[in-house]
Symmetry: C2
Subunit: 498 residues, 2 copies
């Protein structure tokens, strides 16, 4: 499928390279790909923002049923891209075909879930409308009729993730939620999979035309220049920002957003080490099973899931568990990561850990190619963990740290020192869990999702899901990026009084 390398602005494909260009990269071949992608210019970005604002005046008037049809239509056009989409994404990410098929289905289902939610409650988001009836006889003042409903915020800027090229990217959760809410979207496409972004934008454009939506309701801009991102979030017409990516990029965008005259929500999803707490009885009774599950969950997507378990809290002396971990890790085979930059950072962090005196390397996987990342599991005592801030950092890729605790008290100290996390799991027998109630009480204040006896990878798309957690895992703890409640992050209440 021929790619233009251009940006989609108000239904037009723009960009000829006058503002520079970039190439995608093949992680599998460790070489740049041939297609040129053209940086969008400041003038064209302004046009996209203006078109989004114009489109908002129309799009906000659409009925929930019309929006639902539009979302379904986008889903249909994603599927109509067929294997071309999967092949392009595999080229750009080296993620396995089956994984990409699964993620595409999840992305399509996400659009449909919002569509269904809109149809089920055609008068207010998720049926949240509240009415208080008038009482003209009330003394000393008559009671008015008041009705609480929700309005879309306005045009939304979305920054896609590298690690989920479908589900958290161009047409991922934030885009689907914003369109469901009645907000136009401008996506700054991730430069690691620009071709995927272009194909996805084609799917939306086809749906826009089929559903006769305003052309400015969706734009996709390509650029490797940071100033474009900052121009986008600084634009007065933009009323919210969705972001999935690194802490550093998020901080820079947040600084720009803080300088705006009008404060707007910034929904940044950053990083998380997703602690796994193995309680004593579980650790001794199911040592092998737990060890295998931990390794399997961590190795999923070569450790590049936002919910990848990076910290395993295990009672001191669980030799069987640790041996099984070491065996599993040593048998694991290396693979590429999403970008060469991610591989470099991973290797740098691994080397740092190797050099730490109080940390031992429990096992590492086979390294098949120099440009691959192979799995590493380290281990240290809780005392070392508590006194070594470097060990609290996320290592993005196939790595985990076993922290051995001697007592419930020491476990509590580690939990109290944790930064905010997307998720944590607590693995225990019924007895364990009863005894660990104070641990669980404390742990819930550190996470957005608290899991019992399950691995954190695999985020269910449903009404009761919450994806997002205390800072620094998210920049706004009050909102989920997954599940139908996510549309509320792009809406706000209004009271109608009569």
């Amino acid at each position: 499928m021929t790619l233009t390398g251009q940006s989609l602005v108000a239904g037009q494909w723009l960009g000829q390279g006058e503002h520079g260009e970039f190439h995608a990269f093949s992680p599998a071949q460790n070489t740049p790909l041939a297609t040129r992608f053209f940086n969008i210019g400041a003038v064209e970005l302004t046009a996209a923002v203006n078109a989004a604002q114009d489109a908002f005046l129309e799009y906000r008037k659409t009925t929930y049923a019309q929006r639902a049809d539009f979302l379904d239509c986008i889903a249909t056009h994603i599927l109509a891209l067929g294997d071309n989409l999967l092949e392009q994404t595999q080229l750009e990410t080296n993620l396995p075909f089956a994984r990409l098929q699964g993620e595409r289905m999840r992305t399509v289902n996400q659009l449909k879930a919002f569509a269904n939610a809109l149809r089920e409650n055609p008068e207010s988001p998720l049926g949240l409308k509240l009415v208080d009836e008038a009482d003209p006889t009330r003394a000393p003042m008559a009671k008015p009729h008041t009705e609480l409903n929700y309005l879309p915020l306005g045009p939304v800027a979305v920054f896609g993730a590298s690690n989920f090229p479908y589900a958290f990217s161009t047409l991922g959760g934030d885009t689907a939620a914003a369109l469901a809410a009645g907000c136009p979207v401008i996506v700054k496409n991730h430069t690691a999979h620009p071709g995927t972004g272009e194909l996805m934008a084609r799917a939306v454009l086809a749906a826009i035309k089929e559903c006769a939506m305003p052309l400015g309701v969706f734009a996709m801009v390509q650029s490797k220049a940071y100033d474009i991102s900052h121009q986008l979030v600084a634009a007065p017409q933009i009323k919210a920002v969705g972001f999935t990516g690194s802490f550093n990029v998020a901080s820079m965008l947040q600084d720009t957003i803080a300088k705006r005259e009008e404060p707007i929500p910034f929904y940044g999803e950053l990083g998380s080490i997703n602690p796994q707490i193995i309680l004593p009885n579980k650790a001794s009774k199911e040592a092998k099973g737990i060890a295998q599950s931990l390794c399997q969950s961590m190795l999923m997507g070569n450790g590049q899931f936002c919910t990848s378990p990076g910290l395993w809290l295990v009672p001191t002396g669980c030799d069987e568990l640790e041996t099984e971990v070491a065996d599993n890790i040593c048998r694991s085979v290396s693979d590429t990561l999403l970008t060469p930059g991610i591989v470099n950072t991973f290797k740098h962090q691994i080397n740092q850990r190797v050099e730490l005196a109080d940390v031992s390397l429990l096992g590492k996987g086979m390294l098949e190619q120099d440009f691959h990342a192979n799995a590493h599991v380290f281990a240290c005592s809780a005392d070392s963990y508590l006194t070594t801030p470097q060990l609290h950092e996320e290592v993005f890729g196939p790595a985990a740290l076993i922290v051995r605790y001697d007592s419930e008290q020491q476990l509590m100290m580690v939990i109290n020192q944790l930064e905010g996390q997307l998720t944590a799991s607590i693995h225990g027998t019924d007895n364990d869990l009863t005894q660990a109630e104070p641990i669980i009480e404390a742990l819930q204040y550190k996470v957005g999702r608290l899991i019992k006896n399950q691995m954190p990878t695999g985020v269910e798309v449903c009404g009761s899901m919450n994806h997002g957690g205390p800072f620094p895992s998210s920049t706004d703890i009050r909102s989920t990026s997954v599940g139908t409640n996510a549309m509320l992050r792009f809406m706000r209440p209004i009271c109608y009084q009569a």
Copy 2:
């Protein structure tokens, strides 16, 4: 009732003047009051913050029923202060006794409304819990059991308003909502009514003891030094800020908050001119009635309500309406405003308007004392309004501006140029309202509450209320400061998965 002039920190009354002192002011006498209030020091404020964090570890575990009892108990102790409270507040604010009685009742009812909401839904705030059942048979992956609920954010800083010494101040909406949510509160008391704040703090302390709540769950600090406010919102333990006050103070606090490592919600309620749109048929058929209602609403509390109607959009040529307005305003009697600073600003703004070439003074009230503020109503054409940004500013006090529009198109231009507002009202006959549908559609995006044929003053405390609006009327459009939904501003979602 003897006042200590001190701050309440972890159950102790602190401060002897070692960090400076200040006096309250009698607006009625135009002189400072005798009682000395002692600025709290940085060390004592840190103690309050630490005590709030310690208290959070206990308070967050209380059941909803326990919190409800605590709120009811606070309400009881407010009433137990008796007329002493009303007298102290009248001394400090010169608000009429009957008005203060009403506001006290509203404040007490607000606490009880949260208490009732907690009792009605003892398992999740306002019954928002969502459950998705497990499905172990689902292919390819078993579906987990997930349950969405809400946790309190942590210690909250509250900055009270000058204009509602009860309902939006020490024990006002934000404090009640935060305590209902499970969050300890540190109130920076408003320096215009410090004695009122001290009495209110006594009521909470009595309730804390009676209900055996942790002492750090509520602190009230007195200070005229700005750095104390900044220290408070910068403290890492503080997880949200509620503020009612001026744009300038809010901007400074927002800057400090933006420098925090962890972003936190800042719920600032700033200013609003609350536009009143009088449609043609209504203006001609009910000229006198509308004019009287507008004047009455604007004069309420001498123009110091946050929902005071400051901009009246009236069809050109409504002589009867304008004459009636002029008559009402000219008959009105001056009174003090809440502080000498507010009087000065008011007079300065009035003088600026008087000097504008395109603006005429329709009428002004009698000025009984030099230090009073008397009502002023100005008038200008829509063209002048559109081209004179100075006229878009809020004048806090008894002032309004009539803007005469020639056509629906011109009315739409004015609405499109409006900044965000807490409220707007549209006054029309059924015919008017049908014809004005595009106006109403546009207007709702400018306001937090859209009112038909009623005045904006008087905010109903109920589940479907929304108080807060687009910037600059509020700094966070996603949340209400009035009504039971307000407790959600101090909570955040969590998913429990098993």
